[in-house]
Symmetry: C2
Subunit: 191 residues, 2 copies
Amino acid sequence: MRIMDTAERLIESTRELLWERGYVGTSPKAILERAGAGQGSMYHHFKGKPDLALAAVRRTVAEMRAEVDALLSAPGTARRRIAAYLGRERDALRGCPVGRLTMDPDIVASDELRAPVDELFDWLRHRLAEVVREGRARGELPATADPEQLAAAVAATVQGGYVLARAAGSAEPFDRAVEGILALLAAAGAA
Amino acid sequence: MRIMDTAERLIESTRELLWERGYVGTSPKAILERAGAGQGSMYHHFKGKPDLALAAVRRTVAEMRAEVDALLSAPGTARRRIAAYLGRERDALRGCPVGRLTMDPDIVASDELRAPVDELFDWLRHRLAEVVREGRARGELPATADPEQLAAAVAATVQGGYVLARAAGSAEPFDRAVEGILALLAAAGAA
DNA sequence: GTCTATATCTCGATAGAC
DNA sequence: GTCTATCGAGATATAGAC
Protein backbone atom coordinates (compact mmCIF):
# COMPACT_ATOMS: atom_id res chain seq x y z
CA MET A 1 0.00 0.00 0.00
CA ARG A 2 1.34 3.38 -1.03
CA ILE A 3 1.95 5.92 1.68
CA MET A 4 -0.87 8.42 1.70
CA ASP A 5 -1.15 11.71 3.48
CA THR A 6 -4.17 12.43 5.63
CA ALA A 7 -6.27 14.22 3.00
CA GLU A 8 -5.66 11.31 0.65
CA ARG A 9 -6.68 8.73 3.23
CA LEU A 10 -9.84 10.69 3.97
CA ILE A 11 -10.83 10.74 0.31
CA GLU A 12 -10.14 7.02 -0.15
CA SER A 13 -12.07 6.08 2.97
CA THR A 14 -14.97 8.21 1.83
CA ARG A 15 -14.96 6.56 -1.59
CA GLU A 16 -15.17 3.13 -0.01
CA LEU A 17 -17.95 4.09 2.36
CA LEU A 18 -19.99 5.89 -0.29
CA TRP A 19 -19.85 2.70 -2.32
CA GLU A 20 -20.75 0.45 0.60
CA ARG A 21 -23.32 2.58 2.41
CA GLY A 22 -24.16 5.61 0.27
CA TYR A 23 -24.05 9.25 1.27
CA VAL A 24 -26.88 9.21 3.81
CA GLY A 25 -25.50 6.03 5.38
CA THR A 26 -21.96 7.37 5.77
CA SER A 27 -21.04 9.42 8.83
CA PRO A 28 -17.96 11.60 9.30
CA LYS A 29 -17.15 9.44 12.30
CA ALA A 30 -17.03 6.28 10.20
CA ILE A 31 -14.81 8.01 7.66
CA LEU A 32 -12.39 9.18 10.33
CA GLU A 33 -12.17 5.75 11.91
CA ARG A 34 -11.41 4.09 8.58
CA ALA A 35 -8.87 6.77 7.66
CA GLY A 36 -7.27 6.68 11.10
CA ALA A 37 -7.65 10.42 11.53
CA GLY A 38 -9.23 12.74 14.08
CA GLN A 39 -12.04 15.25 13.71
CA GLY A 40 -9.68 18.16 13.30
CA SER A 41 -7.96 16.72 10.24
CA MET A 42 -11.14 16.38 8.29
CA TYR A 43 -12.37 19.88 9.00
CA HIS A 44 -8.93 21.28 8.29
CA HIS A 45 -8.77 19.77 4.78
CA PHE A 46 -12.46 19.92 3.89
CA LYS A 47 -15.34 22.23 4.64
CA GLY A 48 -17.49 19.33 5.85
CA LYS A 49 -19.12 16.09 4.79
CA PRO A 50 -20.55 17.38 1.48
CA ASP A 51 -17.20 18.87 0.48
CA LEU A 52 -15.32 15.66 1.22
CA ALA A 53 -17.96 13.60 -0.54
CA LEU A 54 -17.64 15.82 -3.60
CA ALA A 55 -13.89 15.17 -3.78
CA ALA A 56 -14.51 11.44 -3.40
CA VAL A 57 -17.24 11.32 -6.04
CA ARG A 58 -15.16 13.30 -8.53
CA ARG A 59 -12.29 10.87 -8.18
CA THR A 60 -14.49 7.79 -8.51
CA VAL A 61 -16.10 9.25 -11.61
CA ALA A 62 -12.74 10.10 -13.21
CA GLU A 63 -11.44 6.60 -12.52
CA MET A 64 -14.54 4.93 -13.92
CA ARG A 65 -14.49 7.06 -17.04
CA ALA A 66 -10.84 6.26 -17.75
CA GLU A 67 -11.39 2.52 -17.32
CA VAL A 68 -14.49 2.38 -19.49
CA ASP A 69 -12.98 4.62 -22.14
CA ALA A 70 -10.02 2.27 -22.41
CA LEU A 71 -12.36 -0.66 -23.10
CA LEU A 72 -14.51 1.21 -25.61
CA SER A 73 -11.50 2.65 -27.42
CA ALA A 74 -9.62 -0.62 -27.73
CA PRO A 75 -9.23 -2.22 -31.14
CA GLY A 76 -11.93 -4.65 -32.23
CA THR A 77 -15.44 -4.72 -33.59
CA ALA A 78 -18.16 -2.55 -32.07
CA ARG A 79 -19.96 -5.57 -30.64
CA ARG A 80 -16.74 -6.88 -29.13
CA ARG A 81 -16.02 -3.57 -27.42
CA ILE A 82 -19.55 -3.34 -26.08
CA ALA A 83 -19.17 -6.91 -24.84
CA ALA A 84 -15.94 -5.87 -23.11
CA TYR A 85 -17.78 -3.07 -21.33
CA LEU A 86 -20.62 -5.36 -20.35
CA GLY A 87 -18.19 -7.97 -19.07
CA ARG A 88 -16.11 -5.53 -17.09
CA GLU A 89 -17.83 -6.23 -13.79
CA ARG A 90 -16.11 -8.53 -11.32
CA ASP A 91 -18.42 -8.37 -8.32
CA ALA A 92 -21.99 -7.48 -9.26
CA LEU A 93 -23.15 -7.64 -5.64
CA ARG A 94 -21.17 -4.52 -4.78
CA GLY A 95 -23.10 -2.51 -7.32
CA CYS A 96 -21.82 0.47 -9.31
CA PRO A 97 -19.99 3.05 -7.18
CA VAL A 98 -21.45 5.84 -9.31
CA GLY A 99 -24.90 4.51 -10.17
CA ARG A 100 -25.47 3.80 -6.50
CA LEU A 101 -25.36 7.50 -5.76
CA THR A 102 -28.46 8.18 -7.86
CA MET A 103 -30.55 6.46 -5.19
CA ASP A 104 -29.22 8.79 -2.52
CA PRO A 105 -31.74 11.56 -1.82
CA ASP A 106 -29.12 14.04 -0.62
CA ILE A 107 -26.96 13.50 -3.72
CA VAL A 108 -29.83 13.99 -6.15
CA ALA A 109 -31.05 17.02 -4.19
CA SER A 110 -27.67 18.75 -4.52
CA ASP A 111 -26.78 20.15 -7.95
CA GLU A 112 -23.12 20.13 -7.00
CA LEU A 113 -23.00 16.51 -5.86
CA ARG A 114 -25.17 15.23 -8.70
CA ALA A 115 -23.17 17.04 -11.40
CA PRO A 116 -20.25 14.59 -11.68
CA VAL A 117 -22.67 11.64 -11.69
CA ASP A 118 -24.72 13.29 -14.40
CA GLU A 119 -21.64 14.01 -16.49
CA LEU A 120 -20.37 10.43 -16.25
CA PHE A 121 -23.56 8.83 -17.47
CA ASP A 122 -24.02 11.50 -20.11
CA TRP A 123 -20.52 10.80 -21.37
CA LEU A 124 -21.06 7.04 -21.20
CA ARG A 125 -24.24 7.13 -23.26
CA HIS A 126 -22.68 9.30 -25.94
CA ARG A 127 -19.50 7.23 -26.02
CA LEU A 128 -21.51 4.02 -26.38
CA ALA A 129 -23.59 5.68 -29.11
CA GLU A 130 -20.39 6.47 -31.02
CA VAL A 131 -19.38 2.83 -30.85
CA VAL A 132 -22.82 1.82 -32.12
CA ARG A 133 -22.42 4.28 -35.02
CA GLU A 134 -19.09 2.73 -35.88
CA GLY A 135 -20.70 -0.70 -35.79
CA ARG A 136 -23.46 0.49 -38.10
CA ALA A 137 -20.94 1.97 -40.51
CA ARG A 138 -19.12 -1.36 -40.65
CA GLY A 139 -22.33 -3.30 -41.14
CA GLU A 140 -22.13 -5.04 -37.75
CA LEU A 141 -25.37 -3.46 -36.62
CA PRO A 142 -28.44 -2.67 -38.70
CA ALA A 143 -28.61 0.87 -40.14
CA THR A 144 -32.06 1.23 -38.61
CA ALA A 145 -30.65 0.96 -35.08
CA ASP A 146 -30.83 4.29 -33.24
CA PRO A 147 -27.42 4.75 -31.58
CA GLU A 148 -28.68 6.80 -28.64
CA GLN A 149 -31.39 4.26 -27.89
CA LEU A 150 -29.09 1.25 -28.04
CA ALA A 151 -26.50 3.09 -25.94
CA ALA A 152 -29.11 3.83 -23.27
CA ALA A 153 -30.29 0.22 -23.32
CA VAL A 154 -26.75 -1.10 -22.87
CA ALA A 155 -25.96 1.30 -20.02
CA ALA A 156 -29.31 0.54 -18.37
CA THR A 157 -28.72 -3.20 -18.59
CA VAL A 158 -25.56 -2.86 -16.53
CA GLN A 159 -27.08 -0.55 -13.93
CA GLY A 160 -30.25 -2.62 -13.70
CA GLY A 161 -28.21 -5.81 -13.55
CA TYR A 162 -26.77 -4.60 -10.27
CA VAL A 163 -30.26 -4.06 -8.89
CA LEU A 164 -31.36 -7.58 -9.82
CA ALA A 165 -28.15 -9.09 -8.45
CA ARG A 166 -28.39 -7.29 -5.13
CA ALA A 167 -32.06 -8.23 -4.78
CA ALA A 168 -31.20 -11.88 -5.40
CA GLY A 169 -28.06 -11.87 -3.30
CA SER A 170 -26.36 -13.45 -6.31
CA ALA A 171 -24.46 -12.24 -9.36
CA GLU A 172 -26.44 -14.55 -11.61
CA PRO A 173 -29.20 -12.13 -12.72
CA PHE A 174 -26.53 -9.59 -13.66
CA ASP A 175 -24.81 -12.13 -15.89
CA ARG A 176 -28.11 -13.23 -17.42
CA ALA A 177 -29.06 -9.65 -18.28
CA VAL A 178 -25.69 -9.04 -19.92
CA GLU A 179 -25.99 -12.26 -21.93
CA GLY A 180 -29.51 -11.25 -22.92
CA ILE A 181 -28.60 -7.84 -24.32
CA LEU A 182 -25.59 -9.32 -26.11
CA ALA A 183 -27.79 -12.00 -27.67
CA LEU A 184 -30.20 -9.31 -28.85
CA LEU A 185 -27.40 -7.23 -30.33
CA ALA A 186 -26.08 -10.31 -32.14
CA ALA A 187 -29.54 -11.21 -33.45
CA ALA A 188 -30.17 -7.64 -34.57
CA GLY A 189 -26.79 -7.60 -36.30
CA ALA A 190 -27.64 -10.78 -38.15
CA ALA A 191 -30.97 -9.36 -39.26
CA MET B 1 -58.84 10.31 0.80
CA ARG B 2 -60.15 7.28 2.62
CA ILE B 3 -60.23 7.36 6.39
CA MET B 4 -57.31 5.34 7.73
CA ASP B 5 -56.63 4.16 11.22
CA THR B 6 -53.28 4.92 12.81
CA ALA B 7 -51.52 1.69 11.89
CA GLU B 8 -52.63 2.20 8.31
CA ARG B 9 -51.37 5.77 8.19
CA LEU B 10 -48.03 4.65 9.62
CA ILE B 11 -47.60 2.03 6.91
CA GLU B 12 -48.55 4.42 4.13
CA SER B 13 -46.22 7.14 5.41
CA THR B 14 -43.42 4.62 5.66
CA ARG B 15 -44.03 3.46 2.10
CA GLU B 16 -43.76 7.01 0.83
CA LEU B 17 -40.61 7.77 2.78
CA LEU B 18 -38.90 4.51 1.84
CA TRP B 19 -39.53 5.42 -1.78
CA GLU B 20 -38.31 8.99 -1.39
CA ARG B 21 -35.39 8.53 0.99
CA GLY B 22 -34.73 4.81 1.44
CA TYR B 23 -34.49 2.90 4.70
CA VAL B 24 -31.32 4.50 6.05
CA GLY B 25 -32.62 7.96 5.17
CA THR B 26 -35.97 7.48 6.87
CA SER B 27 -36.33 8.15 10.60
CA PRO B 28 -39.19 7.13 12.86
CA LYS B 29 -39.62 10.81 13.62
CA ALA B 30 -40.23 11.65 9.97
CA ILE B 31 -42.71 8.79 9.68
CA LEU B 32 -44.62 9.95 12.74
CA GLU B 33 -44.79 13.53 11.53
CA ARG B 34 -46.15 12.48 8.15
CA ALA B 35 -48.63 10.10 9.71
CA GLY B 36 -49.69 12.62 12.31
CA ALA B 37 -49.06 10.20 15.15
CA GLY B 38 -47.00 10.15 18.33
CA GLN B 39 -44.14 7.89 19.34
CA GLY B 40 -46.39 5.67 21.41
CA SER B 41 -48.63 4.73 18.49
CA MET B 42 -45.81 3.42 16.41
CA TYR B 43 -44.33 1.27 19.16
CA HIS B 44 -47.75 0.02 20.09
CA HIS B 45 -48.53 -1.28 16.57
CA PHE B 46 -45.00 -2.27 15.53
CA LYS B 47 -41.94 -3.62 17.26
CA GLY B 48 -39.77 -0.83 15.83
CA LYS B 49 -38.50 0.69 12.62
CA PRO B 50 -37.50 -2.60 10.96
CA ASP B 51 -40.87 -4.16 11.74
CA LEU B 52 -42.78 -1.19 10.32
CA ALA B 53 -40.55 -1.09 7.27
CA LEU B 54 -41.19 -4.79 6.67
CA ALA B 55 -44.95 -4.20 6.65
CA ALA B 56 -44.49 -1.28 4.25
CA VAL B 57 -42.18 -3.20 1.90
CA ARG B 58 -44.50 -6.21 1.82
CA ARG B 59 -47.41 -4.03 0.79
CA THR B 60 -45.44 -2.20 -1.90
CA VAL B 61 -44.21 -5.49 -3.31
CA ALA B 62 -47.71 -7.00 -3.36
CA GLU B 63 -49.10 -3.94 -5.13
CA MET B 64 -46.32 -3.89 -7.71
CA ARG B 65 -46.70 -7.57 -8.43
CA ALA B 66 -50.45 -7.29 -8.97
CA GLU B 67 -50.05 -4.34 -11.34
CA VAL B 68 -47.31 -5.92 -13.41
CA ASP B 69 -49.05 -9.28 -13.52
CA ALA B 70 -52.15 -7.61 -14.93
CA LEU B 71 -50.09 -6.12 -17.77
CA LEU B 72 -48.22 -9.32 -18.54
CA SER B 73 -51.37 -11.46 -18.40
CA ALA B 74 -53.45 -9.20 -20.64
CA PRO B 75 -54.42 -10.40 -24.11
CA GLY B 76 -52.04 -9.57 -26.93
CA THR B 77 -48.76 -10.65 -28.43
CA ALA B 78 -45.74 -11.30 -26.24
CA ARG B 79 -43.92 -8.24 -27.58
CA ARG B 80 -46.96 -6.07 -26.97
CA ARG B 81 -47.26 -7.23 -23.36
CA ILE B 82 -43.55 -6.67 -22.74
CA ALA B 83 -43.96 -3.22 -24.27
CA ALA B 84 -46.85 -2.58 -21.89
CA TYR B 85 -44.63 -3.48 -18.95
CA LEU B 86 -41.80 -1.29 -20.24
CA GLY B 87 -44.19 1.62 -20.81
CA ARG B 88 -45.82 1.34 -17.42
CA GLU B 89 -43.67 4.02 -15.80
CA ARG B 90 -45.16 7.48 -15.39
CA ASP B 91 -42.44 9.29 -13.47
CA ALA B 92 -38.99 7.82 -14.02
CA LEU B 93 -37.34 10.36 -11.74
CA ARG B 94 -39.00 8.82 -8.69
CA GLY B 95 -37.34 5.50 -9.40
CA CYS B 96 -38.72 2.08 -8.55
CA PRO B 97 -40.08 1.80 -4.99
CA VAL B 98 -38.80 -1.77 -4.80
CA GLY B 99 -35.58 -1.61 -6.81
CA ARG B 100 -34.51 1.38 -4.78
CA LEU B 101 -34.32 -0.76 -1.68
CA THR B 102 -31.53 -2.89 -3.14
CA MET B 103 -29.16 0.06 -2.74
CA ASP B 104 -29.94 0.30 0.95
CA PRO B 105 -27.21 -1.36 2.99
CA ASP B 106 -29.50 -2.15 5.93
CA ILE B 107 -32.10 -3.77 3.67
CA VAL B 108 -29.59 -5.97 1.88
CA ALA B 109 -27.95 -6.88 5.20
CA SER B 110 -31.24 -8.15 6.62
CA ASP B 111 -32.55 -11.46 5.30
CA GLU B 112 -36.02 -10.57 6.48
CA LEU B 113 -36.17 -7.17 4.78
CA ARG B 114 -34.50 -8.33 1.58
CA ALA B 115 -36.76 -11.39 1.21
CA PRO B 116 -39.81 -9.63 -0.27
CA VAL B 117 -37.60 -7.67 -2.66
CA ASP B 118 -35.86 -10.84 -3.75
CA GLU B 119 -39.17 -12.61 -4.26
CA LEU B 120 -40.59 -9.81 -6.39
CA PHE B 121 -37.70 -9.69 -8.81
CA ASP B 122 -37.47 -13.45 -8.89
CA TRP B 123 -41.14 -13.63 -9.76
CA LEU B 124 -40.79 -10.83 -12.34
CA ARG B 125 -37.93 -12.51 -14.17
CA HIS B 126 -39.74 -15.82 -14.35
CA ARG B 127 -43.02 -14.23 -15.38
CA LEU B 128 -41.25 -12.29 -18.15
CA ALA B 129 -39.49 -15.48 -19.21
CA GLU B 130 -42.88 -17.19 -19.57
CA VAL B 131 -44.05 -14.40 -21.82
CA VAL B 132 -40.89 -14.76 -23.90
CA ARG B 133 -41.55 -18.49 -24.19
CA GLU B 134 -45.07 -17.81 -25.42
CA GLY B 135 -43.64 -15.38 -27.96
CA ARG B 136 -41.18 -17.97 -29.15
CA ALA B 137 -43.93 -20.58 -29.48
CA ARG B 138 -45.93 -18.18 -31.63
CA GLY B 139 -42.93 -17.29 -33.78
CA GLU B 140 -42.76 -13.67 -32.55
CA LEU B 141 -39.30 -14.23 -31.10
CA PRO B 142 -36.51 -16.42 -32.45
CA ALA B 143 -36.34 -19.98 -31.07
CA THR B 144 -32.70 -19.36 -30.21
CA ALA B 145 -33.61 -16.64 -27.70
CA ASP B 146 -32.97 -17.76 -24.12
CA PRO B 147 -36.10 -16.77 -22.15
CA GLU B 148 -34.32 -16.26 -18.84
CA GLN B 149 -31.67 -14.07 -20.44
CA LEU B 150 -34.15 -11.89 -22.30
CA ALA B 151 -36.30 -11.59 -19.18
CA ALA B 152 -33.32 -10.43 -17.14
CA ALA B 153 -32.35 -7.94 -19.84
CA VAL B 154 -35.86 -6.48 -19.94
CA ALA B 155 -36.11 -6.18 -16.16
CA ALA B 156 -32.61 -4.70 -15.98
CA THR B 157 -33.43 -2.12 -18.65
CA VAL B 158 -36.24 -0.76 -16.51
CA GLN B 159 -34.24 -0.70 -13.28
CA GLY B 160 -31.19 0.77 -14.99
CA GLY B 161 -33.36 3.28 -16.81
CA TYR B 162 -34.27 4.76 -13.44
CA VAL B 163 -30.57 5.14 -12.57
CA LEU B 164 -29.84 6.95 -15.82
CA ALA B 165 -32.89 9.18 -15.44
CA ARG B 166 -32.09 10.17 -11.88
CA ALA B 167 -28.47 10.88 -12.79
CA ALA B 168 -29.61 13.14 -15.63
CA GLY B 169 -32.44 14.76 -13.70
CA SER B 170 -34.62 13.91 -16.68
CA ALA B 171 -36.86 11.04 -17.74
CA GLU B 172 -35.36 11.02 -21.23
CA PRO B 173 -32.64 8.36 -20.72
CA PHE B 174 -35.27 6.03 -19.26
CA ASP B 175 -37.43 6.42 -22.35
CA ARG B 176 -34.45 5.95 -24.66
CA ALA B 177 -33.42 2.73 -22.93
CA VAL B 178 -36.95 1.34 -23.20
CA GLU B 179 -37.12 2.25 -26.89
CA GLY B 180 -33.73 0.63 -27.37
CA ILE B 181 -34.63 -2.73 -25.89
CA LEU B 182 -37.94 -2.73 -27.75
CA ALA B 183 -36.14 -2.02 -31.01
CA LEU B 184 -33.77 -4.89 -30.33
CA LEU B 185 -36.64 -7.25 -29.54
CA ALA B 186 -38.35 -6.22 -32.77
CA ALA B 187 -35.16 -6.67 -34.80
CA ALA B 188 -34.49 -10.07 -33.22
CA GLY B 189 -38.06 -11.10 -33.94
CA ALA B 190 -37.65 -10.16 -37.57
CA ALA B 191 -34.42 -12.14 -37.83
C1' DG C 1 -1.85 19.92 10.79
C1' DT C 2 -3.63 17.13 14.17
C1' DC C 3 -5.56 16.23 18.52
C1' DT C 4 -9.28 16.18 22.30
C1' DA C 5 -13.23 18.37 24.30
C1' DT C 6 -17.46 20.10 23.75
C1' DA C 7 -22.04 21.62 21.75
C1' DT C 8 -26.34 20.86 19.68
C1' DC C 9 -29.35 17.83 17.18
C1' DT C 10 -31.38 13.84 15.86
C1' DC C 11 -31.95 8.65 16.14
C1' DG C 12 -34.30 4.78 17.78
C1' DA C 13 -36.38 3.10 21.77
C1' DT C 14 -38.58 2.91 26.55
C1' DA C 15 -41.56 4.46 30.54
C1' DG C 16 -45.45 5.64 32.33
C1' DA C 17 -49.52 8.88 32.55
C1' DC C 18 -54.13 9.19 30.71
C1' DG D 1 -54.35 3.24 21.95
C1' DT D 2 -52.26 7.45 22.20
C1' DC D 3 -49.72 10.92 24.41
C1' DT D 4 -45.47 13.27 26.48
C1' DA D 5 -41.15 12.75 28.89
C1' DT D 6 -36.93 10.87 28.92
C1' DC D 7 -32.87 8.00 27.68
C1' DG D 8 -28.22 6.66 25.78
C1' DA D 9 -26.00 6.84 21.54
C1' DG D 10 -24.50 8.78 17.38
C1' DA D 11 -24.41 12.71 13.71
C1' DT D 12 -22.24 16.90 12.31
C1' DA D 13 -19.70 20.74 13.45
C1' DT D 14 -16.87 24.09 16.36
C1' DA D 15 -13.26 25.49 19.86
C1' DG D 16 -9.08 25.65 21.33
C1' DA D 17 -4.76 23.20 23.04
C1' DC D 18 -0.46 21.50 21.20
